[in-house]
């Protein structure tokens, strides 16, 4: 009885893993990726800087101040955007690893096991 239950549990797990990996599992990882990118954007205030592109910094409303502000903000949007991109890339790598992990494991297992047995 116990053995049957253990085997059923294992068998069900093995059979359902690929389908689960690319449906619910992928949904979980995608949600994680989106949250990661959103948090990065929030952390580097990218949205705030874009919204205030034409708002003078430090309350300096002179013509020159506005011009300098625009320049600095423009540059900062690039810098902060770059930082968000780096964070997002790291998260994307994580997502890509997830997508590839299961086929890699199965193919690797088959390749190495068969290779070692045959050769």
């Amino acid at each position: 009885m116990v053995l049957r239950l253990v085997l059923t549990e294992l068998f069900d797990g093995i059979v359902s893993l690929p389908a689960w990996w690319y449906t619910r599992g992928l949904a979980i990882m995608t949600a994680w990726f989106q949250k990661f990118v959103r948090d990065a954007s929030e952390r580097f205030s990218l949205g705030v800087w874009v919204r205030n592109l034409f708002v003078p910094m430090y309350g300096d409303t002179e013509w020159s101040g506005r011009a300098i502000s625009f320049g600095v903000r423009f540059a900062m949007i690039f810098v902060r955007g770059g930082a968000v991109a780096v964070w997002s890339s790291a998260a994307f790598v994580g997502l890509a690893v997830y997508v590839l992990a299961l086929p890699m494991a199965i193919l690797g297992l088959l390749y190495h096991a068969v290779g070692l047995i045959v050769f």
Partner: protein, 882 residues
């Protein structure tokens, strides 16, 4: 595999409809399925542990292979290990596969099959339905899927309990009993100061009376309880159903359980408040976690995230940044006050006008501002408050220590900084300080706010608002948001949220009784301050008292709170002790030791005091109000003094007002205080001694306006003094004495008119011209004092002689009077017009004078006995020599 549940029936017995879905209970529960379920869970755990161990071993194998073969040989060996069949590659693939399994199982364990409906979108009172029309397949949800494992264990234990007793059905009682050992329910019992032993016998008897039979299956009541627990969790926006919801709903659905807890002094309101206490603690923890995450994004300096702000040196020198304090976790979290916060945000969003929070001191205006700071940190506020900081201006720092022009310069600096920075919301607490200091400062503020140079959230009290703002231009630039005193239920919940800090600071544990009493008793007896502040203050003191008395981990009980409040107010609040019980039951004889005769009066007063002490009286009126009628010298004042001594602890607890001194209209102000002048004699005395006896002598002589004033006191137990303070008379006994109708009383007594008839005529005819009927109707008792008989006067003489003896005893000298001497004194001291009043003078002249002379002549020394004979002659019996 866990055994599958029966299909959810399309027409269930009971359930709730939310968003078109039917939530019903459909969980298989019998011995076989429970055993299978337990086995399946063990297998699942074992398989998960096996896979985890395998992943770990494969990783070790891979690491070992890398260490032995790959790392020493460099990149070439690595490429060979990956691209050619190898044990290193095999072990890595196995590790990856096992890890994938682990990841899947972890996700599945934490995943719920169904999610709780959104509690914020569900009406609070949605009903459990009994008769369902058929529900389509996809729209039926088993609420058991939303039960926390602890709650499921509770349900299973209820089944086992019913099964072990051979009961035919599982009832709410079984759920109640099984919930007692799960989740936070033991904490509820702890907070209530209850032990299971106190109810266990009754529960056992009840269990033995439940019908037995094959089964057990869920009764309809139990099924409804299970759904109600889910409903309760939804309304409170919980993430799952926990044992505490099962506990509460099984209590609500079983009259026996309700009676059982009622016997140990727990009613539904108390239970609900304790359950809420546990939830508040959980909710605060969850809210704090979310808040900390949000706080990571909020800047703490003067600069905002968009860097549009500027430095604000003038403002910084006289202010505290509340958003920075909130980010640092230094501000208290707001509990309750949802309506006020909603109104505050609506006003801010609506017109952008500055806001004035008007509420008495201690009701939570500062807490509301702290709550706003928290919302600003989370950026969960209207757009005009986003990416801004909340800065509290310390007004005393602006106005103190400088002349008017310097203060103006400081205020201008603050307003300029705020205006130019553009990211500041100013807070000015107790803004009346600014207005009272000078009209120039107020004008400056009005000007700045009119020009929208600054946005201010100010606070003030209703009194200050009425006196300072209402007719001033400053009221035009503010939108008023009232912050009233919370009701006792909300105050209890606020105090519950604060008690955790007090417990941590003092190392004590509060029972619910202590929290409840701190609120209810301070609401009733402390009128100088407001809830919840006064109750929190009492809790802090009670914690200190308990810690000092019983050391660390002391349980703070209702008695501790009562002791603190009794010490503060002088009002006895503790339960009636055995000694006091005896004292109350024999009150008549205690009073009669000082007052002779007047049976009706003594009995009426004693009964009133017993009612008051056993809490049977109306709480919103004075303890009792009596009108004592009768001629002079019959014991009206003596009875009042005796009551003050026996119930209030001493004659000095009697506040005596001779109303013949209040005959003109202006004398009202002497009693309650003149507007802008001195405080009133009576209101101030009662404010300082709320637990006292008020004696109003010769009431008929007071001005009619004063009599009208007392209509409110007798009826509502309160009076507003000249500065708007409400003075509480609900812990006073008011005794009014009057000589009106004395002539009739004497005549009626001499004619032998029955007491009832005499009283009726007095009220209907004799007092008609003196007191208005509505005033007479407000007395709890109109008591007629009968003229004293010669026998009464003789007994009073004995009492007075005893008082003389008591005074001499202090000097070590004994004193007694012969019966003949007493008879002579009583004859001389009685006057039909003035009763026993001349007696005191006669005793002074004939007894005290003779003793004083003997003392001065040195004829009397310690241990001697003075004997009084008729004619004022004294004889000295020499004491034995040492």
């Amino acid at each position: 595999m866990i055994p599958s549940n029966p299909p959810i029936p399309s027409t269930p017995r009971a359930g709730v409809l939310i968003d078109g879905k039917a939530y019903i209970w459909s969980e298989r529960l019998d011995d076989a399925s429970l055993a299978k379920k337990r086995l399946a869970q063990k297998v699942q755990t074992a398989v998960s542990a096996g896979i985890l161990a395998a992943a770990f071993l494969f990783f070790l194998w891979f690491g070992w292979g890398m260490y032995l073969y790959v790392i020493p040989s460099g990149m070439t060996a690595f490429a060979r290990a990956v691209f050619r069949p190898s044990f290193v590659g095999l072990s890595f693939s196995l590790f990856l596969l096992a890890s994938s399994f682990v990841f899947q199982r972890m996700c599945e364990v934490t995943r719920r099959k169904t999610t709780m409906p959104d509690g914020t979108k569900v009406p609070g009172n949605f009903e459990i339905q009994r008769d369902f029309s058929p529900v389509p397949e996809g729209e039926r949800v088993n609420v058991a899927d939303l039960y926390h494992p602890d709650a499921m264990k509770t349900v299973e234990d209820a089944y086992k309990l019913a099964s072990s007793f051979g009961h035919a059905s599982i009832q709410p009682l079984h759920l109640f009993i099984s919930s007692l050992s799960h989740g936070d329910v033991p904490v509820v019992f702890g907070r209530l100061g209850l032990r299971f032993d106190a109810i266990s016998d009754a529960i056992n008897r009840r269990l033995l009376s439940v019908p037995t039979g094959p089964g057990p299956t869920f009764s309809e009541d139990a099924e409804q309880t299970l759904i109600a627990a889910f409903q309760n969790a939804v309304v409170r926006d919980r993430s799952s159903v926990s044992p505490i919801e099962l506990f509460y709903e099984s209590y609500r659905r079983d009259p026996f359980v309700q009676e059982l807890l009622y016997d140990v002094k727990v009613d539904e309101a108390r239970l609900s408040n304790v359950v809420e206490w546990i939830r508040i603690t959980d909710a605060l923890r969850e809210r704090y976690d979310k808040y900390r995450r949000a706080a990571a994004f909020k800047p703490t300096g003067p600069m905002n995230r968009s860097m549009t702000a500027i430095q604000t040196p003038a403002l910084d020198s006289v202010s505290e940044d509340l958003t920075t304090a909130a980010v640092g976790g230094r501000l208290p979290m707001l509990i309750g006050r949802d309506a006020e916060m909603e109104e505050l945000l609506r006003v801010i969003e609506g017109g952008g006008r500055s806001v004035l929070l008007v509420g008495p001191e201690g009701v939570g205006k500062t807490a509301l501002i702290s709550g706003l700071a928290e919302l600003m940190v989370r950026e969960d506020v209207p757009k005009m408050l986003q990416d801004r900081r909340l800065v509290s201006v310390v007004l005393s720092a602006v106005i103190s220590g400088v002349d008017a022009s310097e203060a103006q310069q400081r205020l201008i600096g603050v307003l300029n900084d705020s205006g130019r920075s553009g990211n500041v919301v100013l807070v000015m607490q107790n803004i009346e300080q600014l207005v009272e200091t000078g009209s120039e400062l107020a004008s400056l503020l009005v000007d700045a706010l009119t020009r929208r140079m600054a946005f201010v959230i100010a606070t003030t009290t209703p009194e200050a608002y009425a006196q300072t703002f209402e007719r001033s231009p400053i009221s035009r630039v503010f939108e008023v948001v009232n912050v009233p005193e919370p009701d006792t239920t909300e105050a209890i919940r606020i105090v519950e949220s604060k008690v955790g800090t007090i417990e941590y600071d003092q190392n004590v544990i509060f029972t619910y009784d202590a929290v409840e009493r701190s609120v209810l008793l301070s609401d009733r007896y402390v009128h100088a301050s407001y809830l919840p502040k006064k109750a929190i203050g009492v809790c802090k003191e009670a914690a200190l008292v308990a810690f000092k008395a019983r050391g660390e981990n002391a349980i703070v009980t209702g008695d501790d709170v009562e002791k603190v409040l009794a010490a503060k107010t002088g009002i006895p609040m503790t339960q009636v002790s055995t000694d006091e019980k005896d004292k109350l039951l024999t009150l008549e004889s205690t009073i009669h030791a000082r007052v002779i005769g007047q049976e009706e009066a003594v009995k009426a007063v004693s009964s009133a005091l017993r009612r008051a002490r056993t809490e049977l009286r109306a709480q919103n009126r004075p303890i009792s109000t009596f009108l004592f009628l009768g001629p002079s010298g019959v014991g009206k004042t003596a009875l009042a003094k005796a009551v003050a001594a026996s119930y209030f602890g001493g004659e000095n607890a009697m506040l005596r007002f001779d109303m013949s001194e209040y005959q003109d209209q202006a004398s009202v102000y002497r009693l309650i205080g003149a507007p802008g002048g001195d405080s009133g004699l009576m209101t101030e005395a009662v404010r300082r001694n709320p637990f006292s006896l008020i004696l109003l002598d010769e009431f008929e002589k007071a001005h009619p306006n004063i009599l009208n004033l007392f209509l409110q006191v007798f009826d509502e137990g309160r009076l507003t003094d000249s500065v708007g303070r409400v003075v509480d008379f609900t812990n006073c006994i008011i005794i009014v004495t009057s000589n009106a109708g004395s002539a009739y009383i004497q005549k009626a007594v001499s004619e032998g008119v029955p007491a009832d008839q005499m009283k009726t005529r007095l009220i209907e005819e004799e007092l008609h011209g003196t007191y208005r009927p509505e005033l007479l109707n407000r007395f709890d008792g109109i008591i007629v004092f009968h003229p004293l008989t010669p026998d009464d006067v003789q007994q009073i003489t004995y009492l007075m002689i005893a008082q003389v003896a008591e005074r001499l005893e202090a000097k070590g000298i004994m004193f007694r009077a012969t019966d003949e001497a007493v008879a002579e004194l009583s004859t001389k001291g009685y006057d039909p017009k003035f009763g026993a009043r001349p007696l005191r003078r006669i005793i002074q002249e004939e007894v005290d004078n003779a003793i004083a002379t003997a003392l001065l002549e040195g004829r009397v020394s310690r241990r001697d006995t003075i004997v009084l004979h008729p004619g004022g002659r004294i004889e000295i019996e020499k004491g034995t020599a040492l």
